[in-house]
């Protein structure tokens, strides 16, 4: 089984008196451990698809299945729990909480939900993540004291702190210079290899796209092409 499945997904947004058909019958699946890029120009539906995979938006029609659960049958509470447990988010604008420092921003998702880790375990894992993203000396700094690259590293650590199976990154390098952007993608790739976390990121930057081993190219709300590099399609009996 795939970790993410989209079946004939449509998304229509009302725009004043008219409607925008942002996603038009998209179908694909993502396997566990994939490092996948959803590529396409602006307005091709990348962010909309990521939002639906992240369960922060619902499709107008079609089915989104995350870790075997069909999301359209879940209540808001259950979807929130699923999101908290299974999915980590990295945003284009970092979206860190400005009043919290690096450590507290990373810690934030662990304060939510029912199964909270023990204090020692929590601290140990956050310290590990801070070290992994290379921010040991910045742990007590607030977001406004960090560079764009550093902020995105905090966002990556925050996305990973709940040990999610899927991390969604919506244009994670768009607000960064090319060198920093590549470094961020390399970091994501390294974590993907080490922790076997599935990374799904959207981008319109061709150089970043090439780093992915599974590329879905969108155009005008439909899948224009799908390319797997050194990756087989998901096995039907694959354990999620």
């Amino acid at each position: 089984m795939a970790i993410v499945e989209l079946k004939d997904v449509h998304k229509i947004y009302p725009l004043g008196k008219t409607e925008v058909h942002a996603v038009k019958g998209v179908t694909f699946e993502i396997c566990k451990g994939d490092f996948i890029s959803i590529a396409g120009p602006s307005g091709s539906g990348k962010s909309t698809i990521l939002n639906m995979i992240g369960c922060i938006d619902t499709p107008t029609s079609g089915t989104v299945i995350i870790s075997g659960q069909t999301t359209d049958t879940l209540s808001d509470k259950e979807i929130t729990e699923l999101r908290h447990k299974e999915i980590g988010f990295i945003f284009q604008s970092f979206n860190l909480i400005p009043v919290l420092n690096v450590y507290e921003n990373i810690e934030f998702p662990l304060l939510l939900g029912k199964n909270r880790p023990k204090k020692n375990e929590k601290k140990e894992f956050i310290d590990f993540l801070i070290h992994e993203v290379g921010l040991d000396e910045w742990r007590t700094h607030r977001p406004n004291e960090l560079s764009g690259g550093q902020r995105q590293r905090v966002a990556i650590a925050r996305a990973l702190v709940t040990k999610p199976r899927i991390v969604l990154a919506d244009e994670p390098t768009a607000n960064l210079d090319s060198v920093t952007g590549e470094a961020i993608i390399e970091l994501m790739k390294k974590i993907n290899r080490e922790l076997e976390t599935t990374f799904i990121f959207s981008t319109h930057d061709p150089t970043i796209v090439e780093i992915a081993d599974h590329i879905i190219r969108l155009h005008d709300g439909v899948v224009a092409s799908e390319e797997r590099r050194n990756r087989e399609p998901c096995r039907k009996n694959e354990e999620t």
Partner: protein, 436 residues
Amino acid sequence: MNTWRIAIKNLSRQKKRSFLLGSAIAFGVLIITLINGFTGSFVENVGENFAHIFAGHIFIDGVEKTPTGKTLYIVRNDNELIQAIEDLEIEYSFLTRHSEFSGTLIFEGESVRQSIIGIDWEDEQYFTGRLILKDGSFENMQNPRSVILSDKIADKLKLQVGDRMLVQLRTYTGQQNVGEFTLAAIILDPGLVGSISGYANKTYVNELLNLAPDEYMTLGLYLPSMDDIDPTAEALYRRLAEDVDLFAREGEEDEVNPFMAIMQQIEEEEWEGLRYRLYTLNDMLSEVEQIVVVLNTAGLIILLILFIIIMVGITNTFRMVMFERIREIGTMRALGIQKGGIRRLFLTEALWIGLGGALAGLAAAALVMVILSQIFWGLDSPIFILLKNGYMTFRLSFLQTAANLGLVAVLTLLAAFFPADKAAKLQPAVALRTQK
């Protein structure tokens, strides 16, 4: 780190705005606390001042009714009264035996109505301690026909110390009588009801009233504390009822206070011989207590009006806050916070502002009370009757203060609830997409 700490951190983002909102709440609490503190000691202060003016806390009058229906106030023999007080071992600071009349003072063609109380100056030395002498001397009261008048009466009659004036009155049986007083001293009129009486020697007052030297009209008991008034009066009433005829202290209608109930009986009933009426300062102060209720209600209305205005401010502020943090709300929802968590976060921020403002208001009120209570307003102050020895005093009830804090908390939460609820119900994707 929990919701409380995050809420505090959020408030620190807009320090000026949080401060202004907290200050508005603090101001409301300051006003209501001052009003409550003032009214808390209002009854006690007014009571004590009245006790000074009336020379007692519990009073017993002898009342006779003539065959013609005339009412006479006289205590001919107080053995039974004194025996009852001794039997009950009532602790009192002073026991007074006063006679009183209301007559017309006449001096060089000018006249004025004035109540004159006859006092036994030998036994009631304490009495001079609460009069503020403006002219003359209390020593002059050794002259049996001396009188002490307030500055207002003296001014009206253009009297000076040593002047002699006529007094026209009716004896206790209603006969016309005329006497002569010499002005011994002029005292300060403390204002309000403080100017009701002049003071003379009881022996001469009795003579003018045609009472025997050992007769009088009112026996007064000055107790160590106002708290003792009701239980002592109740016990004394029960004990006296065994030996003497007493007016009932309850009226036919429950709402009639004992003083009014007795007055009604005196007017309507017929009886033979002497009947006593026992009344207390509290009976006379029931009107004052009503003033306190009115003041407290007015205070509460002021608080509510202030808070309706403040609530509008809080609601608007939190709507603004919600808009400012809309993407942050989306982020938090994406990270897994439930709707209730967002609602709780906003409400906690509101609660911090509410409680912080309320505590600051309480602290400010305490400071203002301390400052006001240090100021000597003077014994001749127009608000003398509300003061204690010329100083303002405040008494706050813990329950009332807690209720005010609770009210502030509830109103603040109510004001913040609607924006908080709106924030909680935002779709994460919509919130994240919103451009500010």
